[in-house]
């Protein structure tokens, strides 16, 4: 992430904030400076000089229906509008904050009484409330200000109460209470300072509304009374002349629009800056974008490997021997995944082959890049990531496929079972609807039974055949195991050639886990369907797979037949991983830990690892040259490769 910068430095980097400030400045500065500018008297009427066009008789924007200088009136009107809006915001914010503070901090009866009152006010359209108050008090700018402030008190009270409740549950408040401080003292010393940024933000984002509402009341003749004027009343009075002299009505409104747009732009940028939950902090969703951008040329200085072209004709020298073999179902060659804008990849140089019907496990600590690699096989890596390297499925290069061709592949030929069974299903749709949509996503063979029958068969296949009501349920009404079985049923809908199970049992309890493992074994045991089983748990892989890939810090460090890897691991990391797997029936066995931590993405900056073996800092067998050059994958036995210069 970006290095920490002061809020003002970060504010300067927001184009929205700059545009907002510029717009505000354009309106605010002349309005604030109006008393000192060489302007005509805004109230000076001159019936003989009414409705003069712009740039005549010394009037920049001409005159209005009473011969008053339009520019002067606009600037003085903007002053009045702003003043009223700022005052209304202050009154509403302070009153609302006081109510919210009392309700949020003292809770119980105070909370119930105050918030019920606020609820009733919220049950009121706020414009109407303001209108009713002005109707009762009588027209006038002061009354309008008061009415708008009152109508907005509930908004502030609610927001402040929420913020106070959040602050109240923080540890430092408990600490202050333990320290013997009483309510009011805590409010002043601890709650208020923490509340202030929230309140300022709320006020900034509300100010725009306040300007609009003030203008609205004045437009109806309930705000500023002649000869005083704000932008709203100018607009209201100019309305009569809309068809003949539109300028008189249109200009004040345009000024309101500019002012409010500026305030809102600035407020939005401020919110983005201060609020960690702002929607723009959410990373871009993954979606099919045009794929021919890949691979991009990589900066030569930082990228040892030449960029490969999608065409396949220009494969890097030395890798030509790994051209797609006809027998392989899936072949991955030098897969690289990196965050856009970062030179050191999260996953690098991952190469492996999957034969038809083969069951391969991929094991590694969390953060080792397993899931990213698995998702990349479906071209579903997060959109913030760049994917390089080549993948062939059944002899077809995936890198060059269009979005439509990729969609055709997904779940029909390559199916994916995700880690979190709850996340696999949309909570808003019934199981049956989602299963049917999955079945309909690809064209059915001519002799296929109706969707309803196929859905029932799939559910029966994963052991959910007994519950006929299941399809009518929503995902939240299912247990984790049931959700995972539904996810597996969906993955089987089109009889895929490759099934990717990504930590498919991790989120489940042990008994359910065993059932799902048996199911996965049954589904892939006949040799017709290949299985790529991603797990951090060697026991799971030992139960399901024939071959195992060990990943560490975004690299495949060992790749070999299951028995060989388990009994004679060649990489020190694999050996360490095996040593810390608990063994059933040996509760007394000490569980060693691997000292140190895997490198994080932040540590993977240039220089941090310095091109050496990623495991070197934690390895017990490190030699000096381990820290300087990254070892290549070497074959220690037929079909058993290891990325270590000094294999065990």
């Amino acid at each position: 992430m970006a290095e920490p910068a002061g809020p003002f430095v970060r504010l300067r980097r927001q184009p929205g904030a700059l545009a907002g400030l510029a717009l505000l400045g354009l309106v605010l500065l002349p309005a604030l400076a109006a008393p000192w500018l060489p302007l005509a008297d805004p109230a000076l009427t001159a019936p003989a000089r009414r409705m003069l066009p712009a740039l005549t008789g010394g009037h920049w924007l001409g005159t209005d229906q009473l011969g008053r200088d339009l520019l002067a009136r606009l600037l003085w009107g903007a002053r009045a509008s702003l003043l009223v809006a700022v005052l209304a915001t202050l009154v509403a914010a302070l009153t609302g904050a006081l109510i919210g503070l009392l309700a949020g901090f003292f809770g119980r009866l105070a909370d119930v009484l105050l918030m019920r009152g606020i609820d009733v006010l919220m049950a009121f359209p706020y414009l109407l409330l303001a209108l009713a108050i002005v109707a009762a008090l009588g027209p006038g700018l002061g009354h309008a200000m008061l009415a708008i402030a009152v109508a907005n008190v509930p908004f502030f009270a609610r927001a402040v109460r929420g913020a106070v409740l959040e602050i109240r549950h923080q540890d430092y408040i408990a600490a202050a209470r333990l320290g013997g401080h009483r309510g009011p003292a805590i409010i002043v010393a601890e709650v208020l300072p923490n509340l202030l940024p929230t309140l300022l933000l709320l006020m900034t984002t509300t100010l725009g509304w306040m300007v609009l509402e003030t203008a609205g009341l004045s437009f109806l003749g309930l705000g500023a009374q002649p000869p005083d004027a704000d932008l709203g009343s100018m607009l209201g009075e100019g309305r009569e002349f809309l068809t003949t002299y539109p300028r008189v009505a249109i200009l004040p409104g345009l000024l309101i629009l500019l002012l409010v747009t500026g305030i809102n732009l600035f407020g939005d940028s401020l919110r983005d800056l201060l609020d960690p939950r702002s929607p723009d902090r959410i990373p871009d969703q993954t979606q099919d974008r045009r794929l021919d951008r890949h691979p991009r040329p990589c900066p030569a200085a930082q990228c040892a490997r030449p960029a490969e072209a999608v065409s396949g004709a220009s494969a890097a020298p030395g890798l030509a021997s790994e051209a797609p073999s006809a027998a392989a179902l899936l072949q991955v060659q030098d897969l690289v995944l990196s965050l856009t804008g970062q030179s050191v990849p999260l996953v690098e140089g991952v190469s492996f082959t999957l034969e038809r019907g083969e069951r391969v496990g991929m094991v590694g600590e969390s953060g080792s890049g397993k899931t990213l690699t698995a998702l990349a096989l479906l071209h579903l890596q997060p959109a913030s990531m760049r994917l390089d390297g080549r993948r062939w499925f059944a002899g077809q290069e995936l890198g060059g496929l269009s979005a439509a061709a990729l969609r055709d592949l997904r779940n029909r030929r390559i199916a994916y079972i995700p880690q979190d069974p709850g996340a696999a299903l949309d909570p808003l749709f019934r199981i049956g609807v989602q299963l049917a949509a999955t079945i309909r996503a690809h064209p059915a063979p001519a002799d296929a039974p109706p969707v309803r029958v196929r859905a029932a068969r799939l559910l029966a296949q994963v052991g959910l055949g007994d519950d006929t009501q299941l399809v009518r349920r929503f995902p939240h009404a299912l247990s984790g195991g049931q959700c995972q079985r539904v996810a597996i049923a969906m993955a089987l809908a089109h009889d895929p050639e490759l099934l990717i199970a990504d930590e498919a049992t991790t989120a489940l309890d042990v008994r359910v886990q065993a059932g799902i493992l048996d199911l996965l074994g049954d589904l892939s045991g006949d040799g017709r369907r290949a299985l790529l089983c991603v797990s951090h748990d060697l026991a799971v892989i030992a139960r399901l797979c024939q071959r195992v890939l060990v990943m560490y810090a975004g690299r495949v460090v060992e790749d070999g037949p299951l028995a060989q890897v388990l009994h004679t691991p060649a990489h020190p990391y694999t050996a360490a991983l095996l040593a810390c797997s608990p063994e059933l029936g040996r509760p007394d066995k000490p569980l060693p830990v691997i000292p140190g931590q895997p490198p994080t993405a932040a540590e993977a900056r240039p220089g941090a690892v310095a091109g050496g073996c990623r495991f070197a800092p934690r390895c017990r067998h490190t030699q000096p040259d381990c820290r300087t050059d990254e070892p290549a994958l070497i074959e220690v036995a037929p079909g058993h490769r290891v990325r270590c210069r000094y294999p065990l």
Partner: protein, 316 residues
Amino acid sequence: MSGYLVRRLLLLPPVLLGVALVVFTVMSLVPGDPALAILGPYATPERLAALRSELGLDQPWLLRFLGWLGGLARGDLGHSVALERPVLALVLERLGPTLLLAGSALLLGTLLGLAAGLTAARHHNRPLDRWVTLGILLGISVPAFWLGLALILIFAVWLGWLPASGMGSVWGTSGALDLARHLVLPASSLALVAGGVIGRLGRGAAIEVLAAPALQMARARGIAEYRLLLVHGLRGVLARLAPVIGLQAGFLLGGAVYIETIFQWPGLGRLLVDAIAARDLLLVQGGVLVLATAYVLVNLVTDLLQHVLDPRTGGR
């Protein structure tokens, strides 16, 4: 669902009572002698005395409120001084056109807002997102009454395509097409603003919904992009935004006051403005009460809508 419905319906009377209390309290803010304020300086002492006893000004505040509530229960909102007719009849005959205007604006604004929000989220952080976000920003920043004037100027005065006013009676004989032609400009002025607010929150909601793992997994199952966007995305966004759409109904019922004034729409909003100008306080009181009640009912409907759209809210 039925349990939730019953609970919400049970909550309705206290909320409506609260609304009535607020209306009554606000109207008691009138400075000085309300009877004098209502009848004006030229009223005879006899009329003033009669109105004072009709309003119960000689009674304590609580008794006056209870008496007013009793009248409400009988459908008696008092008598309009300026128009010399029962308030309830006046308000009810103007309610229909206002609901038609606010309803069409809400529908149009919701469609606009959802389309803008989903489009922006789908193109998150790309040029189209920035343009749509700019449009949304203008939508929430523009004064609705100014937009109405600008639309009149462009489409009625300059282009002459649509009428600016002249809707005599909404349920008149001139037919649905004429009604629609008169509805376009006022409804659009309100809808563009409401669409801005809905679009602003809709964009945020859509960014979250489209980034949800469930959607990514649906994509992994080969579900087509249009289905992800228009079925999963739209429903997810609607389920989150239903309460916001309800709140917008409040803006529209209030905003109708300006728009009806500008477009000479024969609705409750214009009646209110005229009543305020004439200090016809009982008519203001009745009009505000009816509009606020309509708002409470719309919010009931949108809450129920959210409940239907998101099955999980039942368990919350």
